[in-house]
């Protein structure tokens, strides 16, 4: 057992994947000597060489576009986008090429690519460094989208994503990279990648979260328990496809659901979750699914980002509204 941070878990997971499969490559800006601006690829170029850990020219479309070619040649590129806000120059390649290659070739071409995106806010950064672009990718058929929330998941999920034969948008809550430590048991059997997980049991209402907001939801549940309320918390982990079974099971039991994410509420994941939960659990719901998220405004200057981001109090406020509906 080793105590690791999320950053360390991802770094170890990448190393393991590179050891296990010589076709795994890492590409991106500053991923080599620097080890990435967050040091997630620290030491990998030194140990695996410049051919496998590739510092790229400063062009995101170029990175993803050449990764497409490498994947067609049989490689498994793991692309690092430096910050969430810089994935957009690569958007065309991701949405029109990466996502569609298998479908348009009727299964003859695979696109086993992982696109790692440090996402979300709370690190006091300047504009374009705190975005939550997941809904746009989840809306795109052919992509899979996952978000890790803790060190242990980081270690396993990155390996599973690399092993996956479909393209995976891999979201890493950058605010958590160095926040907490957990014990890694490298011999444990990991949970499958495309499964959601109940991370706290409760019977009064269901909180749905992923990535950075899992911690917020858990804190809210802890605070609520002090007031005699028992909240169930589900870490969605997979955003596309969604794993709705544990969600439906939970909401049928509690009758109340609150979704928490940093992305804008309008057309965020919460909208889809609300729609699906209402379709499936119509007669179990005692109140509408409520959504707590980033406001429908651009991400604000960092001195007020904590006001913009959903926090414990706003989650509890929504739970109150849900339970007293």
């Amino acid at each position: 057992m080793t105590k690791i941070t999320l950053a360390k878990g991802l770094n170890m997971g990448l190393r393991k994947a590179m050891e296990d499969d010589p076709k795994v490559l890492i590409m991106g800006e500053d991923v080599g000597k620097l080890g990435g601006v967050f040091r997630i690829t620290d030491g990998l170029q030194k140990d695996f060489g410049e051919d496998r850990v590739i510092d790229s020219p400063l062009a995101e479309s170029g990175i993803v576009g050449t990764a497409v070619g490498l994947a067609l040649r049989g490689y498994r590129p793991v692309v690092e986008i430096q910050f969430d806000g810089f994935v957009y120059p690569a958007y065309d390649q991701i949405v029109c090429q990466v996502a569609k290659m298998r479908f348009r070739s009727m299964g003859k071409l695979a696109m086993p690519m992982v696109i790692r995106i440090p996402f979300g806010g709370g690190i006091g950064a300047v504009e374009h460094h705190s975005e939550s672009p997941e809904a746009q990718f989840a809306h795109t058929p052919g992509l899979k989208v996952v978000a890790c929330s803790n060190p242990i998941d980081g270690y396993w999920m990155i390996q599973q994503a690399i092993a996956c034969d479909d393209p995976v948008i891999f979201l890493e809550p950058k605010r958590q990279y160095h926040a907490d430590k957990a014990d890694l048991d490298e011999d444990a059997a990991p949970e499958p990648l495309f499964r959601s997980r109940v991370v706290r049991r409760g019977g009064d209402a269901t909180l749905l979260a992923y990535g950075p907001t899992v911690k917020t939801a858990l804190k809210a549940a802890e605070a609520a328990s002090g007031e005699g309320r028992s909240l169930e918390v589900i870490d969605l982990r997979t955003l596309s496809p969604l794993d709705m079974a544990p969600v439906f099971e939970s909401v049928r039991r509690t009758g109340h659901a609150v979704v928490v994410h940093e992305a804008h509420v309008n057309l965020g994941l919460g909208a889809e979750l609300a729609a699906r939960i209402t379709e499936e659990c119509f007669f179990s719901l005692e109140s509408p699914v409520l959504r707590v998220g980033g406001f429908d405004t651009p991400y604000p200057p960092s001195r007020i980002e904590e006001e913009w981001l959903p926090d414990l109090d706003r989650v509890l406020d929504a739970v109150d509204r849900s339970l007293s509906f």
Binding site: G62, L72, G74, Y75, C96, R102, K108, L109, F194
Partner: protein, 394 residues
Amino acid sequence: MTPGNDRSGGFGPDLAEVFGPSQHDGGPELVQLLTPEGERVSHPEFSFGDGMTPAEEAEMIRGFYRDMVLTRRIDTEATALQRHGELGIWAQLLGQEAAQIGAGRALRPQDYVFPTYREHGVAWCRGVDPIELLGLYRGVDQGAWDPAKYNFHLYTIVIGAQTLHATGYAMGMQRDGAVGTGDPDRDAAVIAHFGDGASSQGDVNEAFIFAASYNAPVVFFCQNNQWAISEPIERQSRIPLYQRALGFGFPGVRVDGNDVLATYAVTQAALQRARDGQGPTFVEAYTYRMGAHTTTDDPTRYRLSDDVERWRLKCPIERTKAYLQRNGLADQAFFDDLSAEADELGARLREGCKNLADPSPLSIFDHVYAEQTPELEAQREGFAAYLDSFEGAH
């Protein structure tokens, strides 16, 4: 120089004067080995047929000729099939046969091709059954051939996107040790096809940067057919396009794209540079789109028929025929046989096209992912049940 007084000083000569305008096709910059009149001419740097016997050479040129004639037939038939409603649309290559056959025949089996939507001649050289090209335009598939079988990728419609794929694929060849070993059966290169319009896309320029930075074995093969739908080449570049490459630090060359010998020679040399590990090259095949952009386009709205007439005199097929005939390298039987072969091919295409079946509605759900997701499985089942509900009704 007083800043601001001498208007050209300091920044070198007027580049438009040095390079000439983008649509200028004369001068020594154009590599040509066969004139529009069918005369062989020599070029200081590139030649065709070295190391071959005259018979071998003639055989090869007859082969090119056959390729061009059959490619044109494919194009004509497909155009007609569109007119008869059998295809939704067709992107004609009329006039670009030499550029495509010259490039396509310069490839070795282990090389890899990234085409646009118009590379029917290259597809022909790679052995793709022309019927397989029709599916995309008929609307029954999005490219039916197996790219790995022919080392010929699916057509790419988003302008320029494939040039990055080509560069990445070439980077993969480098990592596979398939470059610069000196083994002719092993060393490989990639060719990326694109148009003059495409040269304006960010992706294409990024491909140049990546290829230069990693010295990737890729040939950027641009068919400058003078038009991007209704926009003339001048909108995309004010100097000859092949010069673009120089600014990225790799060679560019303009070849007469209506001259199959020159296109072959130049492409072959560029591919060999790549295979040898000497990195990327830009080849501008200077040609002309004799037809409409696609069968839905109406070029009379934006260009003069004069231009088209002028280019008709440079026909890639006619000049090769003239050369073969004038030098007695092909007899009438050759031309008659070819004509019969083209007719057969045409008939096979017409027949094959009509037999291209519509996909089943439920195939919508196939191959979105490696394994079906529960979500899609549910949508599929729902749709299947919905479709079944009509069975009774009919």
